[in-house]
Structure formats: structure tokens, C-alpha cells
Symmetry: C2
Subunit: 289 residues, 2 copies
């Protein structure tokens, strides 16, 4: 059985979903068995403005002729345990986590039956879990939740905790390019070199099939940081508060249609991309994303 | 004979030189034979507000008890040829290029006697050439002068041209972290894999001795991108306007006191850094930067 996890990004401003990002939403729906007839639940827990965000998603999906869209307005751990909500996620085809603060996601859903149902369905059924911004960052087992990145790479500044745990062995950071987060992702991977660092730019998403094959979707830029062959770091030598140095991380740039196999750690780059009327078209494939 | 090139960074705002950045200015002066007695010429050509920038530098150097500081207010190629100015750079101990637009630097100084004098002195004498922001970016033989970096890595978007040419085989980008420029530096190196990409964060500088040994100065973050062992890119395959993918660049993080040898491409990481009263102190060395 195929299982999917899709992640997406947006710029935090009043009009959340721009033209391009609807391309990612569209892809999420095409990955779902019931297509435009899919039942979609939007989880707005990460957001401080859940009503606004929920409405935006409903409208955006409606524009794609997806009309069975509802918001799970869960604000506490108690909310997360409500039988009505558990029933709804058991019946959904797609569950989408909005942006906001990823620490709210992990602290409200960590260890709940709600999360267990999603994980089991993600592993065993044809079911799409998607996340944008904080919702994408929280998808991995380890997540970054805080960390200045404009200054030096200071030991102790980048803070990580357990995420929702849909995907193992990766650390996802979002708004990666716009907020200049290369330093903090390099730091996070240097401290856990077995993890693949994933930096999602604006309107960049990953579709993860079978939990192992990632495909870049959206028009944006995805940066991969592989620390397995890191030559050297002084991260364990220096005192807290001291600047950290890191030698020879392997960094790759994934663009639309590229694939990355998490089992073999191989990036497969699409050699040619056609542009027709400003839209990228994959070679040997008429799918327009 | 030792020759030096120092580069430094600042945030473009009314108060140009902050406390930390004066640390870099101090280091520039300690590298000059005449120390606080050095004759310093500040070249404000890159800037749109040369009077303001010139005054800031004079005041900042004065605070370091360096009083023989003057501004070379060169705004055109004709200015650059004035005999008075050529005489002044022949007598200076330190020439410092301010920030602004690096394309002004290359187009006003390219091919001039002014630049030839500086290069000859840099190669043959104990003489310090320093640059901040655009002045640092223009120091290399190839420089990036334009290129959106917030979106996908699009073929043709990052534009490069010849710089002032003090250092070969490197491409320097500045305001690197704050402006999210990892994408454009990876692109620049992918298109010239023999070049070392250098991304200077805020208050990050490099002291380049003998044209080959670089030392990180300042409190900020420096990112190095080595493309010599890049596995694959589709940069030459895809059409202009298409997104580019890049596989396995080697990326390192340099912090204060680390060194990099441009001849052997080796990064030497300082293992321990002491912190005393919030100031970083190199091991086996009482120099406080």
C-alpha cells in the first residue's frame, strides 16, 4: 500500500495561499485515491489565528473543486482527545497541518491517540498527511523549534526536540532561504550526522511515498544537508556559547521533479525540464505541477 | 613579504559600524606595519551616500586612535585617474573599500592605473587592502553582482562579472545569512566548480595573508562552498529560466580563529575557544579580536 506525506511552504502574510502554492495543494489531492472527492481535515493547532487560516484553506481547496474540507480546531490536549475528532481523522483521506509554531504541535499532539491514529494510517493505508511551514517542520522525529541563524553558529543556540515522527532520519527546516537558516540546519545535522537535513524554501514541498522516496514539488528550492561523511566539527569540544565550526558537509539542491531515496541516500536529478507558458513540465510526463 | 587582504561586513543602516565590527577594523590596523600610525584611505565609490559613509569610517578609526584617515571620494573613472589620488594610494598603509554596489567598483576601477597600483602593492609590499560588503564581494576575480535568492535556483538569474581581482579562485558573497544567499552561492560555484565560494555573514571577515591563507575574523559566520568534487548538476542541460539542481557540494562553516589554506584546500578548525567576559580568546594566544 502506498502512503504519502506531503509538505509545503508559504510566506506568512494575510493572503496565505498564492497561485504557486495552490500547485502543491493540487498535487496533494492528486495523490489521494478519492481525488477531488477526498475528505480533507485541516489541523490549525500550530496557528495563533486558526479561524483565518482555516478559512483560507477551505477557500483554496474549494478553488480546486475539493469541497469536502473541514477544520479541526484543536487548541489543547483535551481537544485532541475528543471522540468526534478521532472519528473524523479515521475517515479522512487527507489530513493537513497548517503553519504556526511547531512546539504547539509537538506539545499538544505528542503521545495522544490522535497522533497514533494518524501514524498507523500513514504507515498502513493509502492516506495523505500534509504539512506546511510548522506543520512540515514537525513531521520528522527530530525537529528544530528555535535558533537564531543570523549570527555566528553558537553552541546551544539551536534548539531541537521530538517532532510528530511521521518520517525518521530527517530534520526539516522551513522558510529556509528567506530566513537565512543554512547555519542552523548545518548545526542541527552536525550534532546528529545520521540525520538528513532538509531545508524547504518558499513554495517548496516534498512528496514522500512509502516513507522513503521523496519528490520535490512546488516551484521553490529544497536544500539537502548530508552529514554522514562530515570530516570534522568542534561541536563537542567547545564550551556552550562558543562558535562552532563544521568541515565538509555534503549539500545538494533539489528542484521540482527531482527525487531522493532515503534508503540509499541517492539524489536523482531530472536532466531536462520543459517550460510551456511559464509552467514547468516534467520530461516523459504530462503532469503539470 | 606578507600581504594582506581583509574583508568585513556590516548591516546597511544609518549607524554603519557597530561595536563588533570595530573588532574587525582593529584587526586590520594590527595587520598594518605602522599600527595606529597607519595612513588609511577609505574608498567610498561603491556607496550612494559617500559623505555619510566616509564620515562613519573616519570616526570609527579615530575611536581606535587611528587618526591619519582620509576619504577618496571617487565617483567616476575620470576621478580614479587623478594624480593626487594615485599619489595617495601609493603612500597609504591601508586602503579600505566601503559597501554599496559592487558593479560601481568594477566598472569605475576596472582596467585603471589606480587598480593596477593597488594590485602591485598588494602582491609585492606589506600593504593592507580591506573591503566591507560590496567592497569585499568585489575583491575576487569573479564576483556575483545580482541574483534573486529567495525563489528557486533559476538558470540565468544569478549574474556574475569580473571583480577587482585581488584574490583568484574564490567567489565572495556578503550579507550571506541575513539575505538567505546560500542558493545563489551554490549556483555560482556549480557554474564554476574550480572556484571556492565564500559566504560572509554579518560581522564576519577574512584576513588573507600571502594571498592564500585565510583566517576568519569577526564574530560572525563564514560559509565555504567547495565545488571541486561536486557529483552532478543539470546547470548546462536545462533551458534558461528552468530550475537547477546540484548534487553533493562540500560545505563548511568557518568560525573565528579558523584558517583555510587556498593552496591545499584545507580547513583548519580551532579545537578550543575560551570565552572571557563575553570575548572570544584564541587558544595559545592572547590576541582578543
Amino acid at each position: 500500500m502506498g502512503t504519502n506525506l506531503s509538505t509545503q511552504e508559504y510566506i506568512v502574510k494575510p493572503n496565505y495561499l498564492k497561485f504557486f502554492e495552490r500547485g502543491i495543494l493540487k498535487r496533494i489531492i492528486t495523490e489521494s485515491d478519492n481525488q477531488a472527492g477526498s475528505k480533507v481535515e485541516v489541523v490549525t493547532t500550530a496557528s495563533q489565528i486558526p479561524d483565518l487560516v482555516g478559512t483560507e484553506y477551505i477557500e483554496a481547496f474549494n478553488q480546486l473543486n475539493v469541497t469536502r474540507v473541514n477544520v479541526l480546531d484543536i487548541r489543547t490536549r483535551e481537544d485532541a482527545g475528543k471522540k468526534e475528532y478521532l472519528d473524523r481523522i479515521r475517515e479522512a483521506d487527507v489530513v493537513m497541518f497548517s503553519g504556526g509554531d511547531q512546539l504547539r504541535l509537538s506539545s499538544i499532539f505528542g503521545g495522544t491517540e490522535f497522533l497514533q491514529i494518524l501514524k498507523t494510517r500513514y504507515q498502513k493505508e493509502k492516506f495523505v498527511v500534509a504539512g506546511t511551514s510548522a506543520g512540515a517542520a514537525a513531521a520528522s522525529t527530530t525537529m528544530i523549534y528555535r535558533g537564531q541563524s543570523n549570527k555566528a553558529l553558537i553552541k546551544g543556540e539551536v534548539q531541537m526536540t521530538a517532532g510528530l515522527g511521521f518520517i525518521d532520519s530527517v530534520i526539516i527546516d522551513t522558510h529556509f532561504v528567506q530566513r537565512g537558516r543554512i547555519g542552523r540546519l548545518l548545526y542541527a545535522v552536525a550534532s546528529n550526522p545520521g540525520m538528513l537535513g532538509i531545508g524547504l524554501g518558499e513554495d517548496a514541498g516534498l512528496l514522500i511515498t512509502e516513507g522513503t522516496m521523496m519528490e520535490a514539488i512546488g516551484s521553490g528550492l529544497t536544500i539537502l544537508v548530508n552529514g554522514r561523511k562530515m570530516a570534522e566539527t568542534n561541536i563537542y569540544d567547545v564550551e556552550m556559547g562558543s562558535p562552532v565550526s563544521i568541515k565538509n558537509m555534503r549539500v545538494s539542491v533539489m528542484s521540482i521533479f527531482d527525487k531522493y531515496d532515503l534508503l540509499t541516500n541517492q539524489l536523482i536529478i531530472k536532466k531536462t525540464i520543459k517550460i510551456e507558458d511559464g509552467v514547468f513540465i516534467a520530461p516523459n510526463n504530462n503532469d503539470v505541477l
